[in-house]
């Protein structure tokens, strides 16, 4: 059973539960499947009868690609817009945002609020930059430039060929699909790019390429999504165009500065769910209630919940999901009729509730742990 809300004329891109209200969600959407036209931020409330209704909505000039609640203010929600801006809306007001942050030169594809230092948020863009912001300033606090793709040409020449990769580095090499603060360290930012790399920034270090830790996550295929495990500070999950989900321990990464001649980051992959979906995976999210459960949403119009078999809840098991016939599969949700782009775990109530949204304009709430 799932609860449903349909956003007439809009396609869902991002969804997030409110960290303050157990019945409230924010959904970022765009007209015409997000290709051209307006965007719309929907603030949805779930009533006691289990019906979802729109509490407020804000139409925007361009499509919206992601959403993040302000961790310090219950009424404020941030959106990533296609015109290169981020906008902070107050859900108790109408029509216009209360702040606009415009520095990116291309589409802003993701935004994420810092869960530790709640004064900052991060954005990533098609322009190849990650920016750190604070709500009190129009200008960004810092711009993180991911190492240019020229350095990544080794991927084409070595890694992709030797590994017989299915994918190739696409034209969207510099596009940074997602950036995220670590929920364990306020200074640690992770982002994933079209050049297949996942890059880690420590904000305490100077902004230098030499200090970037990055690893080739998906053999040259675009890495579309990444997420920090909420219980294990060094464990991250990534996924992308190759439709596999990989789990990494960032303690095992090698610093791949410009002087480095070695790319052996694949050794850091501690688990993999191969061919988790029929098509590319657009979103992965670790459960806020379990250290070894994660969610994936895909272009194949489904969402799946998986168990990470390399960890039993207290220690590493030295196993991988490959040994399991179902690859650690827990549940699949097939309610969407278009690509699924956004997914989020509920922090509230019984563990396992999930909100998903996709290009069919639907927002579904369902339980991912109820078999």
């Amino acid at each position: 059973m799932a609860l449903n809300f349909h956003m007439q004329g809009f396609s869902g891109y991002g969804v997030q539960y409110s960290p303050f209200f157990d019945n409230r969600l924010a959904v970022a959407s765009g007209s015409n499947f997000g290709l051209v036209g307006n965007g719309n931020l929907f603030i949805l409330d779930i009533d006691p009868q289990g019906r979802i209704h729109s509490m407020n909505s804000f139409m925007t000039q361009d499509c919206l690609y992601d959403v993040a609640w302000n961790e310090l203010h219950e009424n404020q929600v941030l959106v990533a817009q296609g015109d290169g801006s981020l906008r902070l809306f107050d859900t108790s007001l109408q029509k216009f945002p209360i702040a606009i942050f415009k520095e990116h030169s291309k589409e802003v594809l993701s935004c994420n609020w810092n869960l530790i230092n709640k004064q900052t948020f991060v954005s990533s863009s098609w322009d190849g930059t990650v920016k750190i912001w604070t709500p009190n300033r129009k200008e960004s606090l810092r711009t993180l430039q991911v190492q240019p793709v020229m350095q990544s040409q080794l991927v084409d020449n070595t890694i992709a060929k030797t590994n017989g990769s299915r994918g190739t580095i696409s034209a969207n090499k510099n596009c940074i699909y997602q950036a995220q603060f670590s929920p364990h360290d306020e200074n640690l930012v992770m982002c994933c790019s079209g050049n297949s790399y996942v890059t880690l920034f420590d904000l305490r270090q100077p902004n230098s390429n030499n200090k970037q830790q990055r690893f080739l996550a998906h053999n040259g295929s675009e890495t579309l999504t990444c997420d920090f495990n909420k219980y294990r500070p060094t464990v991250v999950a990534t996924s992308g165009v190759d439709s596999s989900i990989r789990i990494w321990d960032i303690r095992m990464l090698v610093n791949l500065g410009p002087q480095s001649q070695h790319i052996n980051s694949s050794a850091a992959c501690i688990n993999e769910i191969t061919r988790a979906h029929e098509l590319a995976v657009r979103k992965v999210a670790w459960s806020p209630h379990h250290p070894n459960v994660l969610l994936s949403a895909s272009y194949d119009m489904t969402c799946s919940v998986w168990q990470d078999l390399s960890y039993d809840g207290s220690r590493f098991t030295m196993k991988t999901n490959s040994i399991d016939s179902s690859k650690g599969f827990i549940k699949r949700f097939t309610g969407h009729s278009e690509f699924v782009f956004g997914a989020d775990w509920s922090l509230w109530g019984q563990p396992g509730f999930i909100a998903t949204t996709g290009w069919d304009g639907n927002v579904f709430l369902w339980n991912g742990l109820q078999r």
């Binding site: 051209v36 107050d90 216009f96 606009i100």
Partner: protein
């Protein structure tokens, strides 16, 4: 007191200086004689009359002049003697090695002429020009140069001539503006052409998506699923050229397409676009 008894050398020097008074004063530009004012005037007038022919005389060398004049000036006994010297003196052609060349003098004359024109400009004589468009203002110095060139050729500061030049210049500038407007018009057409390219690229991308997801997909389950997708339906329509981006032909319009439309019916496909004000709420 005789000069012999003069003990103070400074006083001796001063007395010798008094003897040469005529020379020094001549150098100051005025001929003065101890004999009286009337004499001074007549001599001066004669000198000034002869001065007209001063520059065209030749033959006498500077060292000759300096050889004779001090000796004659030392005598103050008679007016006739003085006048004869002045006649000779005024007829001497002076050739000063430090004198500026004719070319320099001409250029300096032109410079003075320019100063006159610039002064008029600063006083607002060309004030209407300040209301011209930016392009004209940027070329103000060029216009000035053109006017000055014209004046150089005539060696006189004739404002009428400047007006003629100004008229010519303005005509040229207006023609240039006309040309710019034409280019702007052509540019808007080229933007429209880039919009057409954008439509073409959009179509190619849609074709790629259809080929990848449906035509070349061997997974039958996924293919049938995608075939039912509205998004894939739209991609197929775009691929077939039935739907494309709506490009605004207005030159001031943002070139980014905001809507899709049917090439058959001309109607908007999907959502109508609403222009949203880019402002923030007052809180």
């Amino acid at each position: 007191m005789s000069s012999v008894c003069q003990s103070n050398p400074l006083q001796q020097f001063a007395r010798k200086g008094e003897q040469a008074t005529g020379r020094w004063r001549l150098n100051e530009g005025r001929v003065q004689n101890r004999g009286g004012e009337s004499i001074q005037n007549s001599v001066e007038n004669e000198f000034l009359r002869n001065d007209e022919s001063l520059s065209i005389r030749g033959g006498n060398q500077p060292h000759n002049m300096f050889g004779r004049a001090p000796a004659q000036m030392g005598h103050s006994s008679g007016v006739v003697e003085k006048e004869s010297w002045l006649n000779e003196f005024s007829k001497i052609a002076i050739k000063d090695p430090l004198e500026f060349s004719d070319r320099y003098k001409q250029l300096y004359s032109n410079y003075e002429t320019r100063q006159t024109v610039t002064s008029m400009h600063n006083q607002g004589y060309y004030q209407p020009m300040s209301n011209m468009n930016l392009h004209v203002q940027q070329n103000w110095s060029m216009m000035e140069g053109q006017i000055n060139q014209s004046m150089n050729s005539q060696e006189t500061a004739h404002i009428d001539q400047a007006h003629n030049d100004l008229d010519m210049y303005l005509e040229k500038e207006f023609n240039d503006i006309e040309l710019e407007l034409q280019e702007l018009d052509e540019h808007s057409h080229s933007e429209f052409a880039s919009g057409v390219q954008e439509q073409q690229k959009f179509k190619e991308i849609a074709t790629d998506i259809v080929d990848t997801c449906i035509t070349n997909n061997k997974n039958s389950t996924m293919t049938s699923k995608l075939a039912k997708s509205k998004f894939m339906g739209l991609m197929m329509q775009i691929s077939d050229g039935e739907v494309t981006l709506k490009i605004d032909e207005h030159p001031d319009a943002n070139t980014n397409a905001k809507e899709l439309y049917s090439t058959k019916t001309g109607k908007t496909v999907g959502n109508d676009f609403h222009d949203i004000q880019d402002t923030i709420s007052d809180i």
